[in-house]
């Protein structure tokens, strides 16, 4: 990936974050910075604390020490719904879709923070609420087109295959038009074709909308290919931070993690 992108200043800065659950220290003194419009990867062996890190950024976990600065606002803890309203969206390791609703409705929930017509207008529907609904439906349809999931618009998401569910979840995150997109193992459980599709979507999102992307991923090929910078965690501590090439050649990282050839996804 050697084309020009206008990577900006730091949009997310994580400073000395420490997180414990009872006696277990999930994160110790983690610090890194993510710049606007870049693709930033968090990698590390299982249990390294990667998802916990995302959860802290999201506001789902509350770290005991350290601060997170997003778009100039510094805080240690934040309510998840507030984080979302500030412009952070995410997908989950184990899909967190709303199984009782259709694809369209699921993605429409991503627009929730931008819709504000009150209960009485909603009950009436005719008039302002209808207009608002249609406006946002148009936005959601663009996301659906982008992700090529038109055919499953009205299907209940619980019945969809795994790969499609992940795509719908991405759609829901995209519908919120976030500034920062957190992706937790977006390629997990996918075959080669699905992975290629997902890579394409992620890069397109970054390219077309300029969304900053932070992703957790195990597939080394993907990480090395699409990320601008990488941070490596192990047992809750930071091992290295830098460009993919820098990290790949870092001895600590190799010892901890990259002992296995990263060609394994071609099997």
């Amino acid at each position: 990936m050697a084309y020009e992108r206008n990577i900006g200043d730091t949009i997310l800065s994580v400073d000395q974050i420490s997180l414990s659950f009872g006696g277990v220290k999930a994160l110790s003194n983690i610090s890194f910075a993510v710049r606007e419009h870049e693709v930033f990867a968090i990698i590390g062996p299982n249990g390294a604390g990667k998802s916990s890190m995302l959860n802290c950024i999201n506001g789902f976990y509350h770290p005991q020490e350290g601060t997170i600065t997003f778009k100039g606002n510094t805080r240690r803890q934040v309510r998840p719904s507030e984080a979302a309203r500030q412009g952070i969206a995410r997908t989950f390791q184990n899909i967190a879709l709303f199984n009782g609703m259709s694809t369209l409705d699921n993605i429409m929930t991503g627009r929730n923070t931008k819709m504000n017509k009150g209960i009485f207008w909603q009950a009436l529907r005719f008039g302002p609420a209808e207009k608002e609904e249609m406006e946002h439906r148009a936005v959601v349809e663009r996301v659906i087109d982008f992700l090529e999931i038109e055919a499953i618009r009205k299907t209940a998401v619980g019945t969809l295959p795994y790969g499609l569910q992940k795509r719908v979840e991405l759609g829901r995150a995209l519908a919120a038009e976030p500034d920062l997109l957190l992706l937790d193992e977006p390629m997990a459980g996918m075959n080669l074709e699905e992975k290629q599709d997902m890579c394409r979507f992620i890069l397109d999102v970054n390219d077309e909308f300029g969304t900053t992307i932070v992703l957790i991923e195990h597939d080394m090929g993907v990480v090395m290919d699409i990320s601008d910078r990488v941070v490596v965690l192990d047992y809750g501590k930071k091992l290295a931070e830098g460009t993919p090439d820098e990290v790949r050649t870092n001895q600590d990282v190799i010892d901890a993690y990259l002992g296995v050839s990263h060609d394994d996804e071609e099997a």
Binding site: S81, M108, T109, Q122, L124, R137
Partner: protein, 358 residues
Amino acid sequence: MFYREAGQFKTSYKADQAIFTITQDKFFVGLVLIVAFCVVPIFINDYWANAILIQFLVYALAALGLNILTGYCGQVSLGTGGFMAVGAYASYKLVTSFPEMNFVLAILLSGGITAAVGVVFGLPSLRIKGFYLAVATLAAQFFLVWLFNKVGWFFNYSPTGMIVSPPREMFGFLVTGPEAHPGARYLFCLTFVAVFALAAKNLVRGRVGRSWMAIRDMDIAAELIGIRPLEAKLTAFAVSSFYIGVAGALYFNVWLGTAEPTEAFDINQSFFVLFIVIIGGLGSILGSFLGAAFMVLIPILMKNIMVDGFGFAVGAAKHAEVMLLGTLIILFLIVEPHGLARLWEILKEKLRKWPFPY
């Protein structure tokens, strides 16, 4: 083959998201409404009104309310009886304290009061979930019934502890009290129910309904995408209690006439409405109506078959009814947890192909 939608395609998002997208559906519903509003009041008599229709309407309204809370938002409530009592007693106090007040306004205000009470008792839902919430609602149920029993102000210090609905008029027709024409009482309730059903349908297909369903399906994820749980849950409680309060007010004023809290609004009432919602289908507007029709008709059918048909004692018929109810609940939960509404959907699916087998 008559129910095919082939050839009916939508060219705007608005048409795609309408309540009834299939022409046959629109036709059918229109027909039902015309019959309900124009034909039935002409032929109605006291028996039909009292034994079946008004009860059906009132319980359908209460079930709509409970469905919003439990079916759409996933907050279990066993306090329906208590909230119906709030609506009934609020309407009683309003009607007796302000005799000049428009009756419809009194009923709507009773709903509003019940909504406020509902929000208060719904506050615990922010900390406790699912099953435990059911217990909190039980607290509401028992407390409210006790309150209306003990505190004299609510029943105007009447020595019997009962409340009686005074005669009230709409457009010159009596709608409450023993002199009221059954058609008038029926139309009064029907109007409320029709308007409220439409409002409910609009709510659940819009932003608010989606946030409720998101909370129901996975509340953590809902919060993480920006839905405020406080707002969503409390609006569910508020709207639901509003509906249930209005249902309670109508129940007392138009159907019962007199009421005493331990009989009319006790825990059995809560279970009754819960059963309507389960059998009709959780999370379905149509289901609330189907379930209400079902539950109102069962005792009548049982009595007709067992007592009049086979000569059983009335008591035995009652017990058999209870057994049947229990069996049906279990059956529905096993076979079709989405209730009669889902069975209706399946029927329509079959209709699409009829008379061909596949």
